[in-house]
Structure formats: structure tokens, C-alpha cells
């Protein structure tokens, strides 16, 4: 799981990337936002701000894992589709394969 500081540093880089502001200003913006979110989360989850901070990291981590899983699934589906296509009789891929076998013979 990414630590709170790593998550904040990554977010600050994104702020810099899109605004052109300096690192210190970006970190300050992220810190302030994180503080606000932590206060909100703490209020909603009825925990202290330390707990809220951890909760935010868990949410961010779970979102990252979800995105990775989606990407892997899409890749697997694409590979399966290509293999299916190649296996179909008369497909270009199969013709190529037969031609190759003939060549070998």
C-alpha cells in the first residue's frame, strides 16, 4: 500500500504538471486538500484524522488495484480474441500457419 506521503508526493507532481506552479506550492495545495478531506472523512467515519488519513490511503490503493485489474482483464480479453480469430478455419493467421507447415514439409 502506498504511504500517505507517497500518495501526496504523487498528487503534488500532478498539480505541478497541470499548473506549472512550483513544488512547494503544489505540496501546500495537496496538504491543504488532504487535510480538508481527512477532516471530512474523520467526521463521516467517526475516527480521528490519523485514521482518516489511513482510510484515504486504503481507498486510493484500492482504486489503483481496481484500475490495474481492469487493465489486466482487458488485455486478457484482447489476447483471447486474437487467439480465437487465429484458430478460426480460413483465417489469415491459420492460412499463414498452414503455409508455414507446408514450407517445412
Amino acid at each position: 500500500m502506498a504511504s500517505s506521503n507517497e500518495t501526496k508526493a504523487a498528487a503534488a507532481k500532478q498539480v505541478q504538471r497541470f499548473t506549472g506552479c512550483g513544488r512547494f506550492a503544489a505540496e501546500s495545495i495537496v496538504e491543504s486538500l488532504a487535510d480538508n478531506v481527512a477532516t471530512e472523512v474523520a467526521a463521516l467515519a467517526d475516527c480521528d484524522k490519523g485514521g482518516a488519513d489511513k482510510l484515504q490511503c486504503l481507498v486510493a490503493d484500492s482504486e489503483r488495484k481496481r484500475q490495474e485489474a481492469t487493465a489486466k482483464r482487458a488485455e486478457a480479453q484482447a489476447t483471447a480474441a486474437v487467439e480465437d480469430l487465429a484458430a478460426k478455419p480460413g483465417s489469415d493467421a491459420q492460412k499463414g500457419s498452414k503455409a508455414a507447415q507446408k514450407g517445412k514439409a
Binding site: Q16, R17, F18, T19, G20, C21, G22, F24, A25, S28
Partner: protein, 313 residues
């Protein structure tokens, strides 16, 4: 009698904690007063003189590139100070015998409102990268635009001295070699303005930020089929990178911080890359070439320049 010499700049605006910037090499506080002293019909000399407007700009140059870029990025930093002091310039007092005076006897010139803005970052072969930047000054609060103190204590500088120089450069997907200088013009146009016939400007905007990076070198192949063609090339943040290598400060090793240590500066950019000088040639000297990227915001919304002050390469 006493004299003062330049010591350091302190940035302490409301949005950030204090940063004492070392390695400043020059500073100029320039005032521009527009004084009306029109000679009227019944006089031969002015009989009335008024300050119509006043403007001030602080121009500085320094080697603390990483700290300065962390402070102001490529587009600058608004100097807003309702609780913190602002942008201070410290001048160290020397007594008549030539020694630095002790205690809170030094001079500070503090700007309360305005814009801290990068102008150019340049580096020549075997030179140190230097950042030129301005503080464009306005007057927002009741205090003077520049507040003078002669009872200032010198700030403690905790940032280590550092220097950067030319590192690897890629332009429009071409890995360059034989480059001898790079200059980044941040292209910031800051416009202060005033209202109500007040003497000092009361608002300021950074209306335009249109950077440009120019690389000069002595490689004829930069222009051609294996380099940038006459039609130019598309520079992207993935293929256009200027690295400033950090030097070792103690003369050891090969003179540079290891490339895997995250202390170098990387600047990426997007925009059209074109050849500006295919051959800038003088008798008995290697012909010089130059490439320019006119930076722009890309389709993903990235700023024209993305600066990483903790880069490896």
C-alpha cells in the same frame, strides 16, 4: 560609516513556509517614478511637481536553481502576505574595519505584494546553470511597497550550496550531442496595473506564459534526415527533455552527482521543434546550429514546461 553587501533572499509568503535562498549572485531593486513637472504659461521653470506613478521591480540572478524552481515553478508565485513578511532581500552590514557586524543590525528590503517570476534559465558548456528572475512589485496593503528595516537579523541558510550544468538533451525525439548551451525563456508576461489615480499599481496578473527552449551546439546533423528536418518535429513531454546535471560540491569523483541520485533537474516540454540556425558559421570556428521548441500546453492539459527538481537520468 558602514557598508552593506548582498546576503540572501528570503521567500516567506502566506502560502508557504520561509525559504532562505542561498547562492544569489546579483540583485537590483529598480524604481521608476513618473514625475510631472510641466512648465505652465506664467513660469519658466516647473512650479509644481507631482509623482504621477511609481513602479518597482527587483531583478535577481542565482545558482540555487532547484530551490528557486520549487518556489516559483515555470509560471511564478503570487506574493500574498497578510500574515507572513513577504520577499525579503538581506544586505549584510560591515563595520568600518571590514568585518561583518554582529546581531540584528543588517538591512532588509521586503516586498509585501507582487509576483515572483522566472525569466530565463541559461547554461553554457562548462558553466553553471543560472536562473534570472524578478519580483514585480505592487502595493496592496497600507504598508509601503518595499519595507525597509535596519535592525534585521540575517536569516540562517540551511540549503546546501549546489550547482547544475548541462546534462542529456532530447529534442523532438532526437537525442542531441555536441550541444554547448541551453536557454529557457519562460515567456512570462506580467502586467501590473492601478486604479483610482493611486500612485502604485494595485493588481497584477501573469497573463501569458509561453516558454521557449533554445539549444545551441556544433553538430551539423541536428538539421537533416537524422535530426530535425526542414518541416520541424513534434516535441512532446515524452521526447523532449533537458536535464541539468548536478555537480559535486567537493571536487571529488568525476565532478557530478551519480545519475541515479534524485538531485538532478529535468525539464520536459511539448510543442513544435524547429531549426533556427542550420549553420551559424564564422571563419576558423566550428559552425553552430540551434534548435528551438516553442512550448505549448498539450492536448492532455500538461503545462508547457514540466519541471522535476528531484530527477534521475
Amino acid at each position: 560609516m558602514a557598508t552593506h553587501k548582498l546576503f540572501c533572499m528570503q521567500s516567506h509568503v502566506d502560502s508557504a513556509s520561509a525559504t532562505n535562498v542561498p547562492d544569489i549572485m546579483s540583485a537590483n531593486d529598480d524604481f521608476e517614478f513618473d514625475i510631472d513637472r510641466e512648465v505652465t504659461a506664467n513660469e519658466t521653470s516647473p512650479s509644481h511637481a507631482s509623482v504621477m506613478s511609481a513602479r518597482a521591480t527587483r531583478s535577481l540572478q542565482g545558482y540555487a536553481i532547484a530551490t528557486l524552481l520549487d518556489l516559483m515553478g515555470s509560471t511564478g508565485l503570487a506574493v500574498v502576505t497578510t500574515v507572513n513578511p513577504g520577499i525579503g532581500l538581506y544586505l549584510q552590514k560591515f563595520d568600518d574595519l571590514g568585518s561583518p557586524s554582529a546581531g540584528s543590525v543588517h538591512r532588509s528590503l521586503t516586498v509585501k505584494s507582487g509576483w515572483l517570476i522566472p525569466r530565463t534559465l541559461s547554461c553554457d558548456h562548462q558553466g553553471h546553470a543560472t536562473l534570472s528572475f524578478d519580483v514585480v512589485i505592487i502595493k496592496k496593503s497600507g504598508t509601503d511597497a518595499v519595507v525597509i528595516s535596519d535592525v534585521a537579523a540575517l536569516p540562517t541558510i540551511t540549503i546546501s550550496p549546489a550547482r547544475w550544468t548541462l546534462g542529456p538533451i532530447d529534442f523532438g525525439n532526437i537525442t542531441l550531442s555536441q550541444y554547448r548551451s541551453v536557454e529557457i525563456d519562460f515567456g512570462n508576461e506580467v502586467n501590473p496595473g492601478g486604479v483610482q489615480s493611486d500612485i502604485w499599481d494595485a493588481h497584477i496578473e501573469n497573463k501569458t506564459s509561453a516558454p521557449r527552449i533554445t539549444v545551441r551546439g556544433i553538430s551539423p546533423t541536428w538539421f537533416g534526415a537524422s535530426g530535425i528536418t526542414i518541416g520541424g518535429a513534434a516535441g512532446t513531454h515524452a521526447n523532449t527533455t533537458v536535464v541539468l546535471r548536478k555537480r559535486l560540491g567537493d571536487g571529488s569523483g568525476d565532478g557530478f552527482v551519480s545519475n541515479g541520485t534524485a538531485e538532478h533537474i529535468e525539464i520536459t516540454s511539448a510543442g513544435p521543434v524547429t531549426v533556427r540556425a542550420a549553420a551559424d558559421a564564422q571563419a576558423q570556428n566550428p559552425a553552430e546550429q540551434s534548435l528551438v521548441i516553442e512550448s505549448m500546453k498539450d492536448s492532455s492539459g500538461n503545462a508547457p514546461l514540466i519541471i522535476d527538481t528531484t530527477a534521475t537520468y
